[in-house]
């Protein structure tokens, strides 16, 4: 399965479809877009995220031709956009305010652009019909905009902008007024259209999940600038600033001073299994081992028979290795990588870590060496981030930590970072629960746990004293620019 990853932005040969070159837009003395430079490639699904008023709509309006950059240049396919009037660009925009024609029916609204393109009548009819089907508006074709609901209006606006099948589609909050189910369906329809037609999409949304779902790249904006552009997973897992980390998703921010970590003894060897990192993983592993112990095990002959006779015919029947949960953080960003670590198995009885923490842990946690230690509060142990860039040593930093990367348990776990606190609030979200835990110094920390098992964690309730733990690579160390 050699499916090439769609990443034209990494290919120096690729020509961008849209180029913003140092674009500034001012309204009076207010700067809405501030020296913005950005390339967007053909067939991209480019999502703009940012707080209200950060300039997303202004950016789109410049592309559509309703605003001119005060300074700088926008190129579309290498051609300066300011030379092309708005009605001759192969760009269609879906307006945030919909801008439906109130005197025309839904049908005529959708057909408006097709009629201007002087398409044959039959073709217009077929296309409008398709758009109506796509947006589920068939029954409303002959109604006027004031006779339909807000969500239906939004769908008309979407259908109208899609109808002309332009090269570039600008969607300004296209799905905000739809219910969750319809929104998800429409998202997939959009991705489908994108796949089939190769249209380039730029989409503004306030729904981060939506951006994560549909986008090939996400741009996070702040005060007229793009602060980070990256694939959804990188935006989420590797934000480049506290602003991005804080804006995208839920996050715990620990402000502190970074110190280079004293080099530890060689990492604990002999890891027959991936080290469980969280109490859930530990639980899972134990359950599995117990189960394996209960089950009859094949003998050597049985094993050979299985391998030689059975497996070629019906496929592998038995697992040679016991299963284990995958590691949440496969590769620490800095320092020693997994491959470079001392080869396991060879020294089964290597000296047990002298790194054994002074606390009463029976088994020392496997902390990769290197990285940073963040001294964030006098009364609290420093936080270990083995993936912290050492260049930040001695600086004010922020450890940004997603709530789902923090485990919560009633007994003290063994982990690189362990904090104690009291449960103040629990937000039950169905599939997951978010625990609001107050540490001794008053810091609030959010921890998330999936509601999958009926284990000890379920017993956690308000006012309980709990332990929060996370690995040395769970967080991201960022420079404190606040």
């Amino acid at each position: 399965m050699a499916q090439t990853v769609f990443a034209p932005w990494n290919d120096p040969e690729e020509k961008p479809l849209i180029q913003f070159r140092n674009v500034t837009k001012r309204f009076g003395d207010f700067t809405a877009i501030d020296r913005l430079t950005q390339d967007i490639y053909a067939r991209e699904f480019f999502a703009l995220l940012g707080p209200s008023g950060c300039g997303k709509t202004t950016l789109m309006r410049m592309l559509a031709g309703f605003e001119r950059p005060t300074e700088g240049q926008i190129l579309l396919g290498g051609q300066d956009l300011s030379q092309i009037p708005a009605n001759q660009r192969s760009v269609n925009m879906m307006f945030q305010s919909y801008a439906l024609f109130p005197h025309l029916t839904v049908w005529d609204n959708i057909a408006f652009g097709l009629k201007r393109a002087k398409k044959p009548k039959a073709e217009i009819e077929a296309r409008v019909k398709e758009m109506l089907r796509l947006t589920r508006l068939e029954q409303f074709a002959s109604r006027k905009p004031h006779q339909i609901s807000g969500g239906q209006r939004q769908r008309v606006a979407l259908a109208r902008s899609l109808a002309r099948a332009p090269k570039l589609l600008l969607l300004d909050e296209p799905l905000g007024a739809l219910d969750k189910k319809l929104r998800e369906e429409t998202q997939f329809e959009l991705m489908d259209i994108q796949e089939k037609t190769g249209t380039t999409f730029i989409i503004v949304t306030h729904d981060q999940e939506e951006a994560m779902t549909v986008a090939s790249r996400v741009a996070v904006m702040d005060h007229g600038r793009i602060v980070q552009v990256d694939t959804p997973d990188r935006i989420y897992e590797a934000p480049n600033s506290v602003y991005v980390a804080d804006f995208i998703g839920d996050v715990n921010l620990f402000h502190g001073v970074a110190k280079s970590r004293a080099e530890r003894a060689p990492a604990p060897a002999a890891r027959p299994l991936p080290e469980p990192e969280t109490p859930e993983a530990e639980d899972a592993l134990r359950e599995m081992q117990e189960e394996a112990a209960r089950k009859p095990q094949p003998t050597a002959l049985g094993m050979a028979l299985h391998d030689k006779v059975l497996a070629p015919i019906v496929g592998k029947w038995l697992d040679q290795q016991p299963k284990a949960l995958p590691m949440p953080d496969p590769a620490p960003a800095t320092g020693v990588t997994e491959a470079a670590a001392p080869a396991p198995v060879r020294t089964p009885d290597a000296p047990q870590a002298s790194a054994s923490t002074p606390t009463a842990a029976t088994q020392p946690p496997a902390i990769p060496p290197g990285g940073l230690e963040i001294h964030w509060h006098a009364g609290q142990p420093p936080l270990v981030a083995s993936n912290g860039p050492e260049a930040l040593a001695g600086r004010n930093v922020v450890l940004s930590l997603r709530p789902e990367k923090i485990s919560i348990s009633k007994e003290r776990p063994t982990a690189a970072n362990v904090l104690q606190g009291k449960v103040i609030d629990i937000a039950y979200l169905g599939n997951i629960s978010t625990y609001y835990v107050k540490l001794a110094d008053g810091t609030m920390v959010k921890a998330q746990a999936a509601n999958t098992r009926r284990i000890s964690r379920r017993g956690i309730t308000w006012e309980d004293t709990v332990w929060l733990s996370f690995t040395a690579t769970a967080g991201v160390v960022l420079e404190d620019d606040t």
Binding site: A64, F66, N87, A99, F101, F112, H146, R160, R164
Partner: protein, 363 residues
């Protein structure tokens, strides 16, 4: 809820009583105006109405009274319409069915209150449609109607052609200017209509300001005859009624969302196409309202044609005035007025219909 029904019934009764008092009052006032002494019937009738009203009022509960007040506020325009339109119209209709007489007032028969109900019967018996028949015998009348219609139609079209660009410019002007521009449009109303028409005479006359300027500029050697031609009538009408055209069109254009034009352009329209496909249809309500507001009063216009149009301009308003004051033929003049009203009812009803539609669409 039964109490609701009762209170609503009582409200209707209160409203009806009040309207009865108003009608009686209007009739008494009309009688007084005609110089006839209000008979005992009028006084007792009014008093009876008032007494009935008061009786209902005192019996009504306090909340019924407040809701009655609400009903009165809504009912007032109707009372107004009744007193100032339907009652006068009834009087005019009655005169149009009477005969000319050398008397004061100059028509027969007169209602004699002393005879009571028998008087009414006598009166109705003597009425006929003679005057309406007379209108068909002289082609002056239908020519005047036709000419009025033509002048009103052309003048309305001119007003639209001039008014629309002005309204458009106002609506597209920067927001902070719009109040001032609106003010400038309304400003002429601060001067009496008659004075404005007289000053137009001063401008358009052969020795007037306009001709003086043209001659001084060397554009013409002799004054152009404008005053006392139909041209002057058109100028007068356009000038006078322009605000009635501008205001509704401005209101329609002003509330139009400008992003609609952007959307039209985005979908491939040129500026001109966007105007015809979006702006124009969306201002249609304003155009229709403006046209009716100009056309209907222009049809019956009398001051402008008589002051500016000279002898050559035939308009029904002028004919009516001459019948009434020069010939003292009140019955014929009334018949002319009634026919004019009947003609105008058609556009008025059309106007109402379009207003209603616009209101529905605006919901």
């Amino acid at each position: 809820m039964s109490t609701g029904i009762v209170s609503r019934g009582q409200n209707t009764a209160l409203g009806a009583a009040l309207i009865a008092v108003a009608v009686f009052g209007a009739l008494v006032a009309a009688a007084l105006w005609r110089g006839a002494a209000p008979g005992a019937w009028a006084v007792t009738g009014s008093l009876a109405g008032l007494a009935g009203f008061l009786a209902l009022w005192t019996r009504a509960g306090s909340d019924q009274r407040t809701s009655f007040l609400g009903a009165t506020v809504i009912g007032l325009p109707y009372a107004w319409l009744l007193a100032l339109f339907l009652v006068p119209f009834a009087i005019v209709l009655k005169i149009s069915l009477s005969d000319v007489a050398l008397a004061r007032p100059p028509y027969m028969p007169q209602y004699d209150p002393a005879q009571g109900w028998a008087g009414v019967v006598d009166l109705v018996r003597e009425l006929d449609f003679e005057n309406f028949v007379f209108l068909t015998t002289d082609d002056l009348y239908w020519k005047a109607y036709l000419s009025s219609f033509r002048i009103a139609a052309i003048a309305t079209a001119c007003t639209l052609l001039i008014g629309y660009p002005i309204a458009y410019g106002m609506a597209r002007a920067p927001k902070e200017w719009q109040a001032t521009l609106l003010m400038l449009v309304i400003l002429p109303f601060w001067t009496s209509f008659l004075i404005r028409v007289y000053s137009l005479m001063g401008i358009l006359g052969n020795e007037g300001v306009l001709n003086g300027a043209l001659i001084r500029a060397g554009l013409v050697s002799e004054p152009i005859q404008i005053l006392n031609t139909q041209m002057a009538v058109y100028i007068g009408i356009v000038y006078t009624y322009l605000p009635f055209m501008i205001l509704p069109i401005y209101a329609a254009l002003e509330k139009m969302d400008e992003s609609l034009l952007e959307a039209a352009e985005d979908l491939g329209c040129s500026r001109l196409q966007a105007f015809w496909l979006v702006t124009f249809p969306l201002s249609r309500g304003g155009i229709i309202a403006g046209c009716f507001l100009v056309f209907i009063p222009t049809m019956g216009e009398f001051v402008i044609p008589s002051l500016l149009g000279g002898a050559g301009t035939l308009m029904i308003g002028k004919v009516l005035w001459e019948e009434f004051f020069n010939n003292l033929a009140w019955p014929q003049a009334s018949a002319v007025a009634v026919v004019l009203l009947l003609i105008l009812i058609i556009p008025i009803v059309l106007f109402q219909r379009s207003e209603e539609k616009a209101r529905e669409a605006g919901k």
